[in-house]
């Protein structure tokens, strides 16, 4: 593994290797001295052209705990705002001798494009509405801790599927791990042509959340991305909350062992009610905690072994 651009590039074995290593990384999180010398002398640039709290901070913490030097750059406050092209900016950073760029960008495919330009490793930390592979890996990690092996498990992914990059990564990742996936969304937020997505077959779709909930082992609620919505995808927030939100009433439809995930940030009262977000079966904070461990594992896999740098 040199880059992490899409879950589609990973085999089942590679996914399991990342998840297994993350278990050991999680142990480090509970130590007094949270520091491993593994990536000493390596430099990681977190290049975020879009706002982020948990992804950026957890990539930074992951790098620091592995003793890499991490530097954060945002679109604002760099030469990008002076009109420099993306290519010139990343080539400039690449010329400084960095070992990895962690990139978030509003344009789908930007990290893959950057990986073609620069010689260092590139990690996709979310690109447009395309993919967010590290999120999918940490979701899978969290679900495996809660449910055990995901083979044959049923997971519903619910909400704003059209604008979600978490969706594609999670769908691919869960399927690689043998889980059965059902996508639930209003017709306006169901991506068009979803059946033709490469590598993703054998998933179900539904417009009826009440019908799906009693059969799932896990339900993954996705954020309604109002900042990406220009038209009327649903009449009112209230109507969305009633028809597709995880309301207190819908909590009662879940099986006893079923768990709730949300990649955050949550719109409480819209796609998820406070009762659901704070329920004992909610894994929202476990996901954040797993984020650092899984990202440490990703950095380890990309930077530690031979041939990781050319």
């Amino acid at each position: 593994m040199k880059h992490l651009l899409s879950i589609a590039d990973l085999s089942r074995e590679e996914i399991l290797s990342v998840l297994d290593t993350a278990v050991s990384m999680h142990e480090v999180q509970h130590r007094d001295v949270k520091k491993l010398p593994t990536l000493r002398g390596r430099t990681i640039i977190n290049f975020f052209f879009e706002d982020s709290t948990r992804t950026r901070s957890s990539f930074e913490i992951a790098g620091k705990w592995l003793s890499a030097d991490t530097i954060n750059l945002t679109g604002k406050g760099t030469s990008v705002s002076k009109g420099e092209s993306l290519r010139d900016t990343v080539l400039t950073i690449g010329a400084m001798g960095v070992d990895m760029m962690v990139v978030r960008h509003p344009a789908s495919g930007a990290p893959a494009q950057i990986a073609d330009w620069v010689g260092c490793s590139v990690v996709n930390a979310g690109d447009g509405t395309h993919e967010h592979p590290s999120q999918a890996l940490l979701d899978a990690y969290t679900l495996r801790r809660a449910l055990g092996d995901l083979e044959g498990r049923h997971v519903a992914i619910v909400g704003d599927l059209t604008h979600s990059r978490v969706l594609r990564s999670n769908l691919l990742c869960l399927q690689r791990l043998g889980a059965r996936v059902t996508l639930v969304a209003p017709p306006t937020l169901m991506p068009s042509g979803i059946a033709a997505w490469s590598g993703a077959d054998g998933f179900a779709t539904s417009y009826d959340l009440d019908e799906v909930l009693p059969t799932v082992d896990a339900v993954m609620m996705l954020r309604v991305q109002r900042e990406r919505m220009s038209g009327g995808y649903f009449p009112t927030a209230k109507e969305y909350a009633v028809t597709y939100g995880l309301t207190p009433r819908r909590l009662g439809l879940l099986q006893d062992h079923a768990v709730i995930c949300h990649p955050g940030p949550m719109n409480r009262g819209l796609e998820i009610s406070a009762d659901a977000a704070d329920a004992a079966r909610s894994l929202v904070l476990d996901q954040v905690s797993a984020g650092v461990a899984v990202r440490m594992s990703i950095l380890y896999h990309l930077l530690a072994g031979e041939g990781s740098q050319e």
């Binding site: 297994d20 130590r31 007094d32 001295v33 491993l36 010398p37 530690a304 072994g305």
Partner: protein, 183 residues
């Protein structure tokens, strides 16, 4: 075959006696095996100590992968589990347990890993086989068998817990049969 299964168990029992003699009893002892076979040996050593002394000695494992100095020279290694029983390594007499002592680099990594976990009162080293060729100023306190080897030879340790019943033993393989993974 250099050591048979019986020879291995005899060596483990002798090392248990030596540890108790050196430590003047089982107080503060903590056995940490280096995965994977070192961890199995540490468990056997713990059982032997219990048989001799009648008190249970805590046994754990210490993965040193993240502390190795040769990560960049090899494909990505799988990371094994670290398990420190009880309330940590502070003030304990830690006995590191591994199957083969060779360059000493694994033990160097283990010492670094231990330092990040706390401050043991003392650290000792027990190995099943010492094959020489040290590259660092490191020696073992307890040795099952000293095995003079050449660089081109391979020392292969097989334990029933890890490699299956009937395979147990220590063998030296010449360069010709280096196909099997060995160290």
């Amino acid at each position: 075959m250099v050591l048979s299964s019986d020879d291995i168990n005899r060596a483990v029992r002798r090392i248990a006696h030596e540890i108790l003699e050196g430590n003047k009893g089982p107080d503060d002892l903590l056995l940490l095996g280096i995965p994977t076979r070192g961890a199995h040996l540490a468990r056997r050593l713990g059982e032997a100590l219990q048989q001799v002394e009648g008190t249970e000695v805590p046994v754990g494992s210490l993965d040193v992968t993240m502390y190795r100095d040769d990560l960049r020279r090899q494909p990505t290694r799988a990371v094994e589990h670290t398990h420190i029983p009880g309330d940590g390594v502070d003030g304990k007499v830690v006995v590191l347990v591994d199957d083969v002592l060779y360059s000493g680099r694994t033990v160097r990594s283990a010492l670094d890993a231990l330092a990040d976990l706390g401050r043991p009162r003392a650290v000792r080293l027990a190995v099943l086989v010492d094959r020489g060729h040290r590259e660092l100023p490191i020696r073992a306190d307890y040795v099952g068998k000293n095995l003079p080897t050449s660089h081109s030879e391979r020392v292969m340790v097989r334990l029933a817990e890890h490699d299956g019943e009937g395979t147990e033993g220590v063998r030296i393989a010449g360069p010709a049969d280096a196909g099997e993974r060995a160290r």
